[in-house]
């Protein structure tokens, strides 16, 4: 299931804080779709350390969409594939 989080109007480091909080709530099969106005490079090493994978793409309005799922969650990875293809 997709969980959406819009952090595009927040100032640092609230987007990071809220994203890290949100990934803790993910159930098996869930992935997080974060809407951001910048690509959150600082988030990536933290995701890596916590055992999550991500995929980032530009959205149509000049912002970014970041899809995040647990490394070993195959179902969530497949859902991200279909959502981003």
């Amino acid at each position: 299931m997709e969980i959406q989080l819009d952090v595009s109007m927040l100032e640092p480091c609230e987007p990071l804080e809220q994203t890290l909080e949100a990934i803790k709530q993910l159930n098996p099969g869930d992935y997080l779709r974060v809407l951001h106005r910048r690509e959150p490079h600082l988030l990536y090493p933290l995701l890596e350390k916590s055992g999550f994978l991500w995929r980032c793409r530009d959205d149509s309005s000049g912002g970014y969409e970041i899809f995040i799922w647990k490394t070993d969650d195959v179902a969530a990875a497949l859902d991200v594939d279909s959502a981003t293809s």
């Binding site: 480091c13 490079h41 090493p45 350390k49 916590s50």
Partner: protein
């Protein structure tokens, strides 16, 4: 765009390196306020008095350059994707030499000691040249050269020019060569320091931090690309024109007219910044933004004061004019902006270092404070108000020193004491949480090589 694709804390210096610069700045602020409290109106007689020169360098080197150098050492991996080589050694030595050099320079101004002057110039020269070389190596290695990187490069070159002119003026070589027109060269020295080093760095950093931290739209791309190089070339031409005036080849009006164009460039930058801030997507009041807005409002104020002084000889030759311009530039623009930046950089660095360690340990039992918990809004707001009172009193002191000089000292002392306390509280919170995380690491025997 921040170039942080491969950012890792291994690239950045330990947090103690930038923090030592940031904590030293309010100490110089306190010392400057102490001078104001003790000497009061005597500091507002003329910009040329040794005491006033000492106070000026306490602000420019002790506060402004101190924070700017510390922030650059920390931020280059983030802003430019290129770490400063040997950053721990470079940071420690630069901090020590710039701090001691500034103390000795002020002592030399106050005492007239030739030995003190020589020691000060040696230390400042060594510290700033080491900083210049290390930062330039990092800037040279940058792969993706953004408008911010260009502006930082030009700002750091301006710092070197400011230093070389300062060494030339401070060493007395010009006097022994029979060179008489020192005043114009002092203007070139401070022009490079204020417009080149402080101004261009501020412009380059703004391109990143205003949209990111203040949640505004981006600066227009043409302005980003052209403004800093145009201003730097403008400074070079202005320097040539001043030299032409010194050697009698040009009328003094020529460099002044040219300076008007340079000031217009800075006014455009300030107006665009305020316009972006007015388009903020999030309307929650923010202390950093209030400090920045104060700084940006003082850019056109300084330009207007300068224009008035140059159009009216009655104003231009009045000693109050230069002091008013100096207070507006150094306190109104410079200290406003760096004070505001400290309220973002210090909590952000503290939070990011701790968050990184917490994630590395997978430790969920130790809570990392969020940015607002490192420095409370209430404490920062009170400090902002004290700073505004200090600024207002200092501006009034340029006109009525006997009434307002001591008051300016009192408010500036209170403002810096509170800034120091706010920064110390943030650092203590960092240390407390860091200690808890290290204790957790010890208890689960997780190897941890990232200890500050």
């Amino acid at each position: 765009m921040l170039n942080t694709a491969n950012l890792s804390l291994d690239q950045a210096p330990p947090i103690s390196i930038p923090f030592r610069f940031f904590l030293t700045a309010p100490l110089f602020g306190l010392a400057a306020a102490g001078m104001l409290l003790i000497n009061g109106p005597d500091l507002f007689l003329t910009r040329w008095s040794p005491m006033t020169l000492g106070l000026t360098h306490m602000l420019t080197l002790g506060m402004l350059a101190m924070v700017m150098c510390g922030a650059l050492l920390q931020m280059l991996p983030v802003l430019a994707g290129s770490p400063v080589p040997k950053v721990v050694a470079v940071g420690s030595i630069c901090h020590l030499m710039i701090t001691l050099g500034t103390v000795m320079l002020v002592f030399a101004f106050l005492s007239g000691s030739a030995i003190g002057d020589a020691v000060a110039l040696g230390m400042l020269g060594g510290g700033i040249i080491l900083f210049f070389v290390a930062v330039m190596i990092a800037l040279w290695r940058v792969k993706s050269v953004s408008a911010t990187v260009v502006a930082i490069r030009l700002a750091v070159v301006s710092l070197l020019i400011t230093l070389l002119l300062g060494l030339l003026l401070g060493s007395g070589i010009l006097g022994t060569m029979g060179f008489g027109d020192i005043a114009s060269l002092v203007d070139v020295h401070l022009g490079w320091g204020i417009f080149g080093w402080i101004g261009l760095l501020l412009i380059g950093i703004s391109y990143q931090v205003v949209p990111m931290f203040q949640v505004t739209p981006e600066y227009p791309s043409r302005l980003r690309r052209l403004l800093a190089p145009a201003l730097f070339i403008g400074m070079l031409i202005w320097t040539a024109l001043v030299l032409g005036e010194i050697f009698g080849a040009l009328n003094e009006i020529v460099p002044r007219i040219w300076m008007f164009f340079l000031l217009s460039g800075f006014v455009i930058y300030a107006v665009v910044t305020v316009r972006l801030q007015l388009q903020r997507k999030r309307r929650i009041p923010d202390i950093t933004m209030m400090f920045w807005r104060t700084g940006m409002l003082f850019v056109p104020v300084c330009a207007l004061v300068w224009v008035a002084g140059n159009l009216s000889p009655g104003i231009g030759y009045n000693p109050h004019y230069n002091l008013l311009l100096g207070v507006s530039l150094l306190l109104g623009v410079g200290v406003s902006v760096i004070n505001g930046m400290l309220y973002k950089i210090v909590p952000f660095l503290s939070w990011f270092h701790l968050q990184n360690r917490q994630m590395g340990l997978m430790c969920m039992t130790v809570k990392v404070p969020n940015m607002k918990e490192f420095i409370s809004d209430k404490a920062a707001r009170l400090q902002f108000r004290l700073f505004l009172l200090a600024l207002l009193s200092a501006l009034l002191a340029t006109l009525r020193p006997d009434w307002f000089a001591h008051l300016a000292g009192l408010f500036f002392f209170a403002s810096n004491a509170l800034l120091l306390k706010n920064l110390l509280v943030a650092m203590l919170r960092y240390r407390e949480t860091n200690r808890a995380l290290l204790a957790y690491a010890e208890s689960v025997r997780v190897p941890d090589g990232d200890v500050d």
